[in-house]
Amino acid sequence: MDLAVIVLIQVLYAIASLVVVSAGLAVVFGMMKVINLAHGEFMMLGAYAAIESVRVGINLWVAMLIVAPLSVAAIGVLLERVFIRRLYGRMIDTMLATWGLSLLLIGIVTSVMGNTTAGISAPLGNFTVGAYSVSSYTLVIIVIAIVLAVALRWVLLHTSLGLIARGTMQNPQMADALGINPSLVYSATFALGAGLSGLAGALLAPMTGVVPTMGGAFVAKAFITVIGGGPAIVAGLISSSALFGAISQVATFAMTPVFGEVALLAGAIVMLRLLPQGITGRFFKGAL
């Protein structure tokens, strides 16, 4: 019984962390069709922003939930204005340029912060289930993932902001004719995506440790999740996170964490062969 609860919590945590890691990319790729290979480095910047804020005495939760997303969103706006907007509609070139950006960001952060692992310890301590002890922070991540998904859906579906953003992505000329500035909407959407990536990096910093090259571990997983999800942004994010998170966690229990990772990636390749349009390309059609 206790074991079952633990397994359930771990599977939920795996799913939740995939949702958190992929949310920023889901916005940038799902809405703007920009393949942002610097996604992992945005996370890394968020993690460093949180760590540095804590070091100068800001409260941990403020640092993770407010400072990190805002600072990475600001960096995102800057990069969108300078580089990314020259490449809209050129998918492969965007992919290459953002890969260049990711190397550039790794290089800059390595020069400034040094190539060492920094970290903050997980807050809130542990709680016990029978004979097992679990970090309470695991539950925080699960709650935040749920809040994130609900909030994202609400913003996109029920606010005028979300309506304007979706309309602009579908038909920028029409939005322009209706008095909306598309370039502003693009910047704002990219900032939202970057901010979510920064939040993810800050949230996972206590669990993973922070190095300049930490982004590489997340970018492939995030991409697989977003692409596996298909065209619906939020429904796709949740359904593919659930599928891949469960696969990876079960494989981790059965063998080792490395094979959990491998099972996730291999499962994704098989799934893309079976459902080339992603999960929501086949099921839950018309959802968001």
């Binding site: 340029a97 260049g100 190397l103 790794i106 290089g107 991409f223 692409i227 062969r273």
Partner: protein
């Protein structure tokens, strides 16, 4: 539908002087002559250390050519070319440790990555996955291989009696030997000649391939896959062939790399390695075969120079180069230099017509110095397919 307007007919790109040169056998012959001169001359010009350094440049150039072919001519952006490179290196290392004689391992290091690419390519091309998925899947496969090989550190992980070594890699790989004679192993100079020779042979074979129908259909698939299919070709099979061929070449490069350092480790599967290959190709010139060679040598030289000082991080420089080239020099060095040469030549001709004959002399010299830069498909619109459209 009305008949096409005359304007539309003239909009078909007419290959310029540069492209015509790049597609003729002359450019291939010129590259070959330069290559043979380097092959024969460099062992005398360089000391042993520089020669060993030149060997690894040539190994990486071979790897760059494999991606330059599949991406520039097949239109398949493979983010995981390093997967085949690493597989080649590991295959050779494991097989040579088990077998002793290096002939079969050398062949295996080409065949096994190619077979792996065939399975992977079948999943991708016959699933009709788009470019983006292609990039992500190849990247993912590279990461899987890296993770798996990286975690095989314990003594229980071995194939035959070759331990995989996990993140430590496999040291002391036996070098190539003459077929049948295990004691007659290759030396540094032989290694250099073998590597550059392999590079030249691969270059020549690829040029020949691009000149025959098979190669032209591959280029046509890149230009307009639907049209190729309507003409009755199975584009999936042609793309798969290009993918498998490139994987085989990358495997050969991996085998040579394992020979060069007598060592292989999981980092050759890594993201950094994959990124490097793409940077080489895009810097040198996409859609050419000489471009990736030039790009790989230039970038490696640069990386080595950066490594000798502490102030600037090499990731920073590589990233900046990639961004700048994608945004500002999307064609890469070789086609850009070629175009510059042609423009210079034209300007000189125009200016020199009424004046001294001496300037004509320099124009001819410029033409010769610009010549090695020219390569097939120097512009994005390959004349092969445009000719087909015209006909």
């Amino acid at each position: 539908m009305s008949t096409p307007l005359p304007e539309q007919r003239t909009s078909i790109p007419v290959p310029g002087a540069l492209e015509r040169f790049a597609h003729s056998w002359k450019s291939a012959a010129l590259t070959l002559v330069i290559g043979i001169l380097l092959l024969a001359g460099l062992p005398y010009a360089l000391d042993d250390f520089a020669l060993v350094q030149a060997t690894v440049y040539a190994v990486m150039a071979l790897l760059a050519v494999s991606l330059g072919f599949v991406w520039g001519f097949g239109g398949i952006l493979c983010f995981g070319q390093s997967a085949f490179f690493g597989l080649g290196a590991y295959t050779y290392a494991i097989a040579v440790t088990n077998l002793g004689d290096s002939t079969v391992p050398l062949l295996l290091s080409i065949v096994l990555p190619a077979a792996f690419a065939a399975v992977l390519g079948y999943l991708i091309f016959y699933g009709r996955l788009s470019d983006v998925y292609m990039g992500v899947i190849t990247l993912t496969v590279t990461l899987i291989l890296f993770n798996v090989v990286n975690s095989t550190a314990g003594p229980e992980w071995k194939i035959g009696h070759a331990p995989l070594g996990g993140f430590n890699g496999i040291p002391n790989i036996a070098p190539l030997n003459m077929p049948g004679n295990v004691d007659d192993v290759i030396g540094p100079r032989g290694m250099f000649e073998l590597t550059v020779g392999a590079l030249l042979v691969v270059y020549l074979l690829l040029r020949a391939l691009l000149a025959v129908k098979l190669g032209r259909v591959i280029v046509a698939c890149k230009e307009n896959e639907q049209r190729v299919a309507l003409l009755g070709y199975d584009s999936r099979a042609y793309k798969l062939f290009a993918f498998v061929l490139a994987a085989g070449i990358a495997g050969l490069a991996g085998c040579l790399f394992a020979n060069w350092g007598a060592f292989t480790s999981p980092t050759i599967f890594g993201l950094a390695q994959s990124a490097q290959i793409i940077i080489w190709v895009i810097v040198g010139g996409l859609g050419t075969l000489v471009g990736p060679i030039v790009g790989s040598i230039a970038i490696q030289w640069l990386t080595t120079q950066i490594g000798t000082q502490q102030a600037i991080n090499s990731n920073l420089v590589l990233g900046a180069i990639l961004v700048v080239f994608v945004l500002m020099v999307p064609k890469g060095i070789v086609p850009s230099v070629g175009q510059l040469g042609v423009r210079l030549l034209k300007a000189l001709r125009r200016g020199g017509r009424g004046s001294l004959a001496a300037s004509n002399e320099t124009a001819v010299q410029r033409a010769h110095s610009a010549a090695p830069a020219a390569e097939p498909g120097a512009s994005r619109s390959a004349p092969d397919s445009s000719r087909k459209e015209a006909a």
